[in-house]
Symmetry: C2
Subunit: 269 residues, 2 copies
């Protein structure tokens, strides 16, 4: 199997995203190796040795996705036996020409706490945790968005992802079985109606997810899931609350769609 290396003088997250996006276009399996924080020539030399050893052992030239800011380190890695794909270097020159600006390379530029928006993100994570599951309805005024939906429809992971990735403060509120008889918005939600966003999901998928939590329960039965989902969807429509069916969507996709649909302001790019 061919080995793909992701290497950087920072976290190597950018190198991973870059390499992953390319490799998933090909119908093949790869061995993945990430080497972050390669910050000295001695460390770079070790990495070159590792790439060369991999070539010797497997007979296949490793694919090397790297994103070095430091020029010397970059050059050293380029001299390995791997096939290097260096998108920063490939695109910096044309961008420089268009912007008429010289680049100012700085290590730990992205994915570091020196990003202006870092504190926003940590605050948002703490907010999401403190306001999970309707825990703190008095904080709704500080929320950027309030996700609503039945139990296990994806509210909590989505809130956390919005916080970590975008610095968006998401509270969430669950509709529980006892609410279903005559479902309506509680006054605390009504008061912040413009911030509400509903999640829904197919009854079959919801039942599967709930089965993992409480096997063979009424709570997990398709019948109960269908009933609850029908009620909340009716509520979303009656109250004109924007909503999304998360059945086929990842949290990345749910989050991106929510931002696109609501025009929510992100704290991080």
């Amino acid at each position: 199997m061919r080995t793909a290396f992701y290497i950087s003088d920072g976290t190597a997250i950018t190198a991973e995203v870059f390499g992953h996006a390319l490799l998933t276009m090909f119908p093949a399996q790869f061995e993945h190796v990430t080497i972050p924080f390669v910050e000295t020539l001695a460390m770079a030399q070790q990495v070159v040795q590792r790439i060369n050893d991999c070539y010797k052992t497997t007979g296949l030239k490793p694919l090397v996705f790297h994103t070095f800011v430091d020029e010397q380190l970059r050059l050293q890695i380029s001299q390995s036996d791997g096939i290097c794909y260096d998108f920063l270097n490939a695109f910096v020159a044309p961008l420089q020409q268009e912007l008429q600006l010289a680049p100012v390379p700085k290590t730990h530029r992205t994915h570091s706490m020196h990003e202006k928006t870092y504190d926003f993100r940590i605050d948002a994570v703490n907010f999401a945790l403190a306001n999970d599951d309707g825990a703190n309805m008095k904080n709704f005024s500080q929320a950027d968005i309030i996700l609503i939906g039945v139990s296990r429809s994806g509210k909590t992971p989505t809130s956390l992802y919005l916080a970590l990735q975008y610095g968006i403060k998401a509270a969430n509120y669950p509709f529980v079985e006892e609410d279903m008889e005559a479902l309506r918005l509680p006054p605390e939600l009504k008061q912040h109606k413009a911030k509400l966003f509903g999640l829904t999901i197919s009854p079959e998928r919801l039942s599967q997810i709930r089965e993992q939590r409480r096997p063979n329960s009424r709570y997990a039965s398709v019948r109960q899931c269908t009933l609850e989902l029908k009620e909340v969807e009716r509520l979303y429509q009656r109250e004109q609350i924007p909503f999304l069916n998360s059945t086929q969507l990842s949290i990345e996709e749910i989050s991106a769609k929510i931002i696109a649909m609501t025009g929510l302001k992100r704290q991080k790019y």
Copy 2:
């Protein structure tokens, strides 16, 4: 101000990471616009219009970072007045030649729930939440790693990031003030010693963070923070527990370093 567009037929997360990594190399400010899920020619036409309008209004050609899988959509966006940077297209051909394989473009390939590892990640998020703050010491056997440290040293956001980004199950356990008199590992931790990873932080930074939670408290005083940190660092050294000082590090950097130091197996690339 120059506008940067990030456009894709998926979440546009890859386009954002790609564009962001490049733009942060230049000492300039940009207006950022992300347009995800451009899935039809009609939508692509609207986006082209928006790019062209932006050029007309500002007199500056927008920078367009796009990652379309669909060839038709890609071509349509390329015909806008923006300057397009298309790293997928730039690197697919050389990679194809090296792999001797034709690419099989599929939309929603990355960042979707059809990734094999998606369920791992959601399970890991639920695990992190259920095992936050020493809540469930009986689950330590299921953890991939157990983060330990004083209150507010970064354990919870790091656990969540490890889960969301890498599908790693991280529990965490806080040492509290009452433990400090004669600090030792509780038997539940001792039993899983190989999984322990310590966090530490500078007393000044810890005090700042704690001030936000309980202003003017003993808990937040530099004196108390210094005392607690000295005790836990002594414990880490005595017990030979690997640890990291998080003062200057983002959760991305902490997570990447933990994985590099422990060799922890990731569920996602």
